[in-house]
């Protein structure tokens, strides 16, 4: 099976310059694999500062990694020839979080559909192009006569986000990165939009990378999940195992903080987990050791010496925590490839 999109041990640092050698490490050695023949939905979950948005931009080729590579069909994005670059651009698309900011206020919303139609030459004639636009809007649950010809501020957030889904349908890429696609949308519409995203995979064979901080929707929608903490992968594996039986202390903390819509269950239900210090102090950069050590209730001396590698505790799960050092070590690339196959 060909690998469609791959992040090979990528890192990205911000803020280094001649005068400032140490910047912030937004993404720290993350590997991710998406294969061609197996359309899948992969979730990348984390809080703010986890690096998930930076990872998304790296995968989209919008920024360059400081180390490691992003490969499209086996070829690195850096130094790609024009034709491959165009193909990559066409096949890897995105839906962003903010349904207002995604639109240029000077133009009608049509532009967001007609521009790529034109640039990627998706239609042979104006009529065909228009038909495609209309069809994709309908598939996204919108009525063309109510949406086309309007300015962004004349439509609701939900409608705007659905137009973005229509755009994805129109372009029919191989991969879509959805960066928090429903967090700014009303609750009653969320399920509908998420459903249309899952349909993209089911009916068009498009793989999705679903980036979110909401573990519940990640569970609903994806097959595998990467839990990021301050740029590193804390836990990765099948969404069933990682969320229902979390192993990494951070994952457990995340799951236990989910406000479950059940008045009789206190938060995530994990009473055992009490956290030492209240928040990640992002100003303190741990020189070595596990990044979660200063907040971890299970911290051990070795946690301060070196960052733990990924231990493969199950066939389809790996945890970066010394609590599981009895399991075999696995590289990020290996587990990523295994999950994607």
């Amino acid at each position: 099976m060909t690998t469609l999109l791959e992040a090979q041990n990528v890192s990205r640092v911000f803020g280094t310059s001649l005068l400032n050698k140490s910047g912030t490490i937004a993404v720290d050695g993350v590997s991710l694999v998406i294969k061609e023949d197996k359309p899948t939905i992969t979730a990348i979950a984390g809080e703010s500062g986890s690096g998930k948005t930076t990872l998304a931009r790296l995968l989209l080729g919008m920024i360059r990694p400081s180390s490691g590579e992003i490969l499209y069909r086996g070829r690195s994005l850096l130094g790609m020839d024009r034709q491959s670059r165009d193909e990559f651009r066409r096949q890897v698309q995105a839906i962003f979080q903010d349904p207002y900011e995604s639109y240029n206020p000077v133009y009608k919303v049509d532009q967001v559909l007609t521009l790529p139609l034109r640039k990627f030459r998706l239609a042979k004639s104006k009529e065909e192009g228009y038909a495609q636009v209309e069809a994709s809007l309908r598939m996204a649950g919108l009525r063309p006569e109510e949406t086309l010809g309007r300015y962004p501020h004349q439509l609701s957030g939900g409608q705007r986000q659905r137009i973005m889904v229509a755009r994805a349908l129109l372009l029919n890429p191989r991969i879509i990165l959805a960066d928090e696609p429903v967090s700014m949308v009303d609750a009653s519409l969320r399920a509908t939009i998420l459903e249309s995203l899952v349909k993209l995979k089911r009916e068009l064979g498009i793989s999705l990378v679903y980036i979110t901080h909401d573990l519940t929707t990640a569970y609903q929608v994806s097959q595998s999940i990467y839990i990021l903490y301050r740029g590193s992968v804390a836990e990765v594996g099948s969404v069933e195992k990682v969320i229902k039986q979390p192993k990494h202390p951070y994952t457990r903390l995340l799951v236990s903080s989910i406000p479950l819509p059940d008045p009789d269950v206190r938060w995530g239900g994990d009473r055992e987990l009490e956290v030492k210090s209240s928040e990640a102090n992002t100003r303190v950069t741990e020189a070595q050791g596990c990044k979660f050590a200063n907040r971890c209730p299970f911290v051990m001396p070795e946690c301060h010496h070196a960052a733990p590698p990924l231990y493969r505790t199950d066939d389809d799960r790996a945890v970066a925590c010394y609590l599981y050092k009895d399991s075999p070590i696995v590289s990020g690339a290996e587990i990523a490839t295994s999950l994607a196959s």
């Binding site: 703010s48 509908t192 899952v198 903080s257």
Partner: protein
């Protein structure tokens, strides 16, 4: 069965009667809040839930009389311990704010003055609401006590906002909200900008603080999970009206209004994957509202009369109020 959830039981700290608020827009008047009534007991936690355009934020801000210029409070009463806040003069209202009823606004972290130390901002709040003069030691003591109650170190008073994390800033805003021991605290989506772990901690802090103060809280938001964890009662707003007002268990176990039912069903859960049950249709236009019931165009249980008659809030079960013609056999 009365059609007003405000019974004359003595110890209500806040009574809202028939609150109606409109906005003047270029396209015409928009009624954002349409005859909302509810009552709050001391120490009670009420969750005001709704989507965008439901009127929940406008309702909350009206209680504080902190609406924009274009908003007009057309009618109703807001009785805080028997005193109608809507009838107070501007100066009297200013005194009442923070002292009797306080607000933790949305994005509160961004409403802190970046140029002033935290302690100074807290001090200003105290001074702005003290009739007489307050001694320096007294101010200092109150600031320390407030910071302690939100689990912040006293040294935070000497910090600037940018030196604090998001959760800490939010807690400072909570501290400011309780500084003068108000009877009612309105929290308008206080955790929307926070991560889930911090959110839990901030909400637990808020809960501890209001319990020790004995203050009532109105939590405005759209996160039903958060409401389940925090609120005693929940008011569901739709199209500017209260469609259901019930204890929290009633809302989740036995929702009466079709909108609430659909809302509960649409909540993503960890039990079933790919469980997508959204509510079809669009939120109603407040400029040209649908005739009859605001929800009827999207309601799976709509009847013929739903497009002509307007339902009112009726107590279906003890303390469970719903505004739906399905339950309103007696009304014309």
């Amino acid at each position: 069965m009365t059609s007003n959830p405000v019974k004359d039981r003595a110890p209500h700290v806040l009574v809202v009667r028939d609150l109606t608020v409109s906005y003047r827009t270029a396209a015409g008047p928009v009624r954002a809040v349409n005859g909302v009534s509810f009552a709050l007991r001391p120490g009670e936690r009420l969750g005001l839930v709704g989507e965008s355009g439901s009127g929940k934020t406008t309702t909350a801000l009206s209680l504080m009389r902190l609406l924009q210029e274009s908003a007009v409070i057309e009618g109703g009463q807001v009785l805080l311990d028997g005193v109608d806040l809507l009838g107070l003069s501007r100066e009297e209202m200013r005194q009442a704010r923070f002292a009797q009823i306080s607000l933790i606004p949305q994005g509160a972290m961004n409403s802190l003055n970046p140029m002033m130390k935290i302690g100074e901002q807290l001090r200003d709040t105290i001074l702005a609401h003290s009739a007489g003069s307050v001694s320096k030691t007294d101010i200092y003591a109150r600031i320390q006590k407030a910071l302690e109650s939100v689990e912040l170190r006293g040294s935070v008073a000497n910090s600037f906002p940018h030196e604090l994390s998001g959760g800490m800033k939010q807690r400072v805003c909570i501290a400011m909200g309780i500084l003068l021991n108000p009877k009612v605290i309105i929290a308008d989506e206080p955790t929307s900008a926070l991560d889930v772990v911090v959110q839990r901690q901030v909400m637990e802090t808020l809960r501890r603080v209001q319990e020790s103060l004995g203050a009532a809280v109105i939590l405005v938001g759209h996160d039903m999970g958060l409401m389940a964890q925090f609120a005693d009662r929940i008011g569901v707003m739709y199209g500017g009206k209260l469609s259901e007002l019930s204890p929290v268990r009633g809302i989740f176990r036995d929702p009466l209004h079709p909108y609430t039912q659909l809302l509960i069903k649409s909540l993503p859960n960890l039990e079933m994957k790919e469980n997508f049950r959204g509510i079809p249709g669009l939120t109603p236009s407040l400029l040209k509202p649908p005739p009859g019931c605001m929800f009827h165009p999207r309601c799976p249980q709509a009847m013929a009369r739903c497009s002509t008659d307007i339902p009112t809030l009726v107590e279906m079960k003890p303390d469970q109020w719903v505004s739906c013609l399905l339950y309103d056999k007696g009304q014309s």
